[in-house]
């Protein structure tokens, strides 16, 4: 075993860390969060140039990475800086699904994605599906040479900026059947597609997307009809690796801010870190943080295993990340006192990102249940 990053990944980590420390401070981030777009096109372009998106794809796909550890290396750094730009949506979900299932022609989009010119979104979840990946009510019906989509998609991250939206829809089967789900590459300006956008608690934007008789040529289908489910689960497993690593990065920053504050903030004539009631809790945070670091290594290292093993690690990691995330975000706020409650202090942003990551693709309890089901099977 070897727990060192490869030289290439180490370089990528250093480059990202330096760039973001330099360019993504509190003021910049707050401005981006408050902007109408919810992300900075300039930062997006620059990060793409540094290889953030290319690292998420294999050489075969046109990138230079694509493994679990490439994903976690990139997202830990994005998380550490509190980056809100939607790389998961464009790179891992939208881009990943096109690379996995697309025809040669469809795959041409991946190059644009890696270069930073094209944004994507993945419209899968629906108003009542919560975290159930096989629950798809949106329908796809053949009508002559065309396919017609109807339905509603919920909390679609980055929908407004996307040039194409990868949409899941059911071509056959019942509400939660794993068979019968297909994916379609829908141009954002397709007739019948409309959206209501809004900002997100953690920064960035999402939208409720309505598909009302959206007509597509059969060539818009990604992969085989009705057989998209395994590819969706794989893409979301990779997104879970990204979410976990991002949360790890954010927890590192939250812990560092708290450590720093315990040393500098004085009450009763001494640094508050000298009160054992706080010092021991800080120690607990650091102990738990190491658990998260290992859980993230676990998810990354098992990304390319058979689906069952991989999914077991996904569930286990997200459960640990969720529990420790709650601990670190709540304890960091508590040990700071009032200052942590303000928008003008860094910690607030990280606490929100950590907490809200527990609402993406399954929360702590949901992943625990999934773990129970998978390990019993």
């Amino acid at each position: 075993m070897n727990f060192e990053l490869t030289e290439e990944r180490q370089m990528l980590q250093d480059t990202l860390r330096r760039f973001l420390a330099d360019r993504y401070g509190l003021d910049v981030r707050n401005k981006i969060v408050d902007s109408d777009e919810g992300y900075s096109p300039k930062i997006w372009e620059e990060l793409a140039e540094l290889g953030v998106i290319g690292a998420l794809f294999t050489e075969e796909e046109g990138g230079f990475g694509g493994k679990g550890f490439d994903i976690t290396t990139v997202f830990e750094e994005l998380g550490r800086a509190g980056v809100v730009e939607p790389f998961i949506e464009t790179g891992i979900l939208g881009g990943g699904l096109i690379a996995a299932l697309g025809t040669d022609q469809q795959k041409e989009l991946v190059e644009e994605v890696i270069g930073g010119a094209l944004h994507l979104a993945f419209a899968h979840g629906e108003p009542s599906s919560r975290y159930e990946l096989s629950q798809v009510e949106t329908t796809a019906k053949a009508s002559g040479d065309e396919i017609v989509l109807n339905g509603r998609k919920a909390v679609v991250f980055n929908a407004e900026a996307a040039g194409y939206i990868v949409v899941s829809a059911r071509e056959s089967g019942g509400l939660s059947d794993v068979d019968g789900i297909s994916l379609f590459l829908v141009p954002a300006d397709a007739a019948g597609l409309s959206m209501v956008g809004y900002p997100l608690m953690q920064g960035g934007r999402a939208a409720e997307v309505t598909l009302d008789d959206v007509k597509l040529p059969a060539s818009a289908r990604l992969g085989e009809a009705g057989k998209a489910y395994p590819a969706i689960v794989t893409a979301i497993a990779r997104a879970n690796a990204a979410i976990s690593a991002e949360a790890l990065g954010a927890m590192e920053t939250a812990s560092n801010l708290t450590k720093g504050y315990l040393v500098t903030r004085e009450q009763f004539g001494r640094p508050i870190g000298t009160f054992q009631a706080l010092a021991h809790r800080m120690a607990d945070m650091l102990i738990e943080l190491e658990q998260v670091r290992s859980a993230v290594i676990n998810i990354a290292g098992h990304m390319d295993d058979d689906a069952k093993t991989r999914d077991l690690y996904v569930a286990a990691t997200r459960n640990v990340v969720g529990r420790v995330g709650r601990l670190i975000s709540e304890e960091s706020i508590q040990m700071h006192g009032g200052i942590a409650m303000t928008k003008e202090y860094e910690l607030a942003h990280f606490a929100k990102r950590i907490t809200m990551s527990d609402h993406r693709y399954g929360d702590t309890d949901w992943h625990l249940e999934r773990f129970i089901a998978l390990s019993a099977a």
């Binding site: 919920a154 909390v155 608690m201 999402a206 006192g337 409650m341 003008e344 606490a351 809200m356 949901w366």
Partner: protein, 396 residues
């Protein structure tokens, strides 16, 4: 011992319920329910409704115009208000300054200020904390120097809740720098319209404007605005803090919040069945309900020991620690219960004329979760409360 309510208490509950049903301002109820920020007019209209009924000051003695209810009545009232989605009344005049003036104020101060607190004519805010003086409140630096018939006040207060609406602020100020820090503090009443006062907003992490910074630059305060004796302010401040903690357990609010989580969990379908049947979620919810049932009795036990107009002692610290933990746990359950729809940011999701994003109960949950992190920080943090308990109980 007898755990049942008397016929009189049941009749009182009925009276409260009917009153609330018939008199609560509908728009305020709607806003409270959907987690929108309440403005000055909203809060005042609710204040006036209770004032007109004679119910605005449940724990004030009758001689000052209070309702002088006993602990059980206050508990019933709080619970009914919470279940009816009534907003809480603003505490600074009613539960903080009022009791201090009643005990330590001059006759003129009582005659002038108490009726105006009751009627809502004066809006008060609390000027205790400073950037350098939070838990260590006694280290406060805002300076008041006597010059003839006035004090000249210089310095800064912070975290001033709803200071943007206030007509008056009660402040702890330093009047003697040569003695032990607790012995040089005075309690001053300051008109917010005095020249030299500037209020600057602080935006909280979930986007609300609830607290402020208040700056004092050579602010002239008449000496008759001193409460009690000069340099005895710390005694009054501590008296006020125990009162601040009386209603802090928030049993009624927690019961209402838990009932709301249950309603949500019945409607949310997860994995083909209602979330309320999900073992992990159900276990968490049951856990907090067991704790809440015990705390309700703890609260009644402790509060009924204190005479009318008096505050409980050390037990208030215990209530605060447990009550706020329970409340925060319920807020956490609520945000989980709404799943992905916890993420849309409330400014657009629940405010203004926009349609809510997702089910209408989803919008406020994450916002409430983050906002209520304050419960364990203000009014004496949980750590400070534990310190008080440990000090008096262990004696070290």
């Amino acid at each position: 011992m007898d755990m049942s309510y008397t016929p009189e208490e049941n009749a009182f509950r009925e009276e409260v319920r009917t009153f609330l049903k018939e008199n609560m301002p509908k728009d305020v109820v709607e806003k409270t329910k959907s987690g929108q920020e309440l403005g000055k007019d909203d809060l005042l209209s609710w204040h006036k409704t209770l004032y007109n009924k004679g119910w605005i000051a449940p724990n004030w003695p009758k001689e000052y115009g209070g309702a002088e209810w006993d602990a059980v009545q206050r508990h019933i009232f709080e619970e009914e208000c919470a279940f009816a989605n009534a907003p809480r009344t603003v505490p600074f005049g009613l539960t903080m300054l009022g009791p201090v003036l009643q005990k330590f104020g001059s006759q003129e101060q009582k005659d002038h200020y108490l009726p105006r607190i009751l009627s809502g004519e004066d809006w008060w805010c609390q000027g205790y904390s400073e950037p350098g003086a939070g838990s260590d409140l006694a280290s406060l630096k805002t300076r008041a120097v006597r010059e003839g018939d006035h004090y000249i006040v210089n310095g800064q207060k912070t975290w001033t809740t709803l200071g943007q609406y206030a007509d008056w602020i009660f402040c702890l100020v330093r009047t003697d720098t040569t003695v032990k820090k607790q012995e040089g503090i005075s309690f001053l009443l300051i008109d917010m319209n005095t020249p030299g006062i500037e209020v600057r907003p602080i935006i909280l992490l979930e986007g609300t404007h609830e607290v402020n910074e208040v700056f004092f630059d050579n602010v002239k305060v008449p000496v008759e605005n001193l409460v009690g004796e000069e340099n005895k302010g710390w005694t009054y401040a501590k008296y006020l803090l125990t009162h601040e903690r009386t209603n802090i357990a928030g049993v009624g609010a927690s019961k209402a919040a838990l009932a709301s989580v249950k309603r949500i969990a019945k409607q949310e379908i997860s994995g083909g069945r209602p979330l309320i049947e999900n073992p992990a979620f159900a276990a968490r919810m049951a856990q907090v309900e067991c704790d809440l049932m015990a705390m309700e009795t703890t609260n009644l036990r402790i509060v009924s020991k204190a005479a009318v107009g008096q505050a409980p002692g050390i037990e208030a610290s215990m209530l605060k620690v447990t009550g706020t933990l329970i409340r925060q746990e319920i807020n956490d359950l609520a945000r989980r219960a709404v799943g992905p729809y916890a993420m849309p940011f409330p400014s657009e999701a629940v405010e203004g004329d926009n349609q809510p994003i997702g089910p209408d109960y989803a919008g406020p949950q994450a916002k409430r979760y983050f906002n209520n992190r304050k419960l364990t920080i203000f009014g004496g943090s949980s750590e400070v409360q534990r310190g008080i308990i440990a000090k008096t109980q262990i004696g070290v």
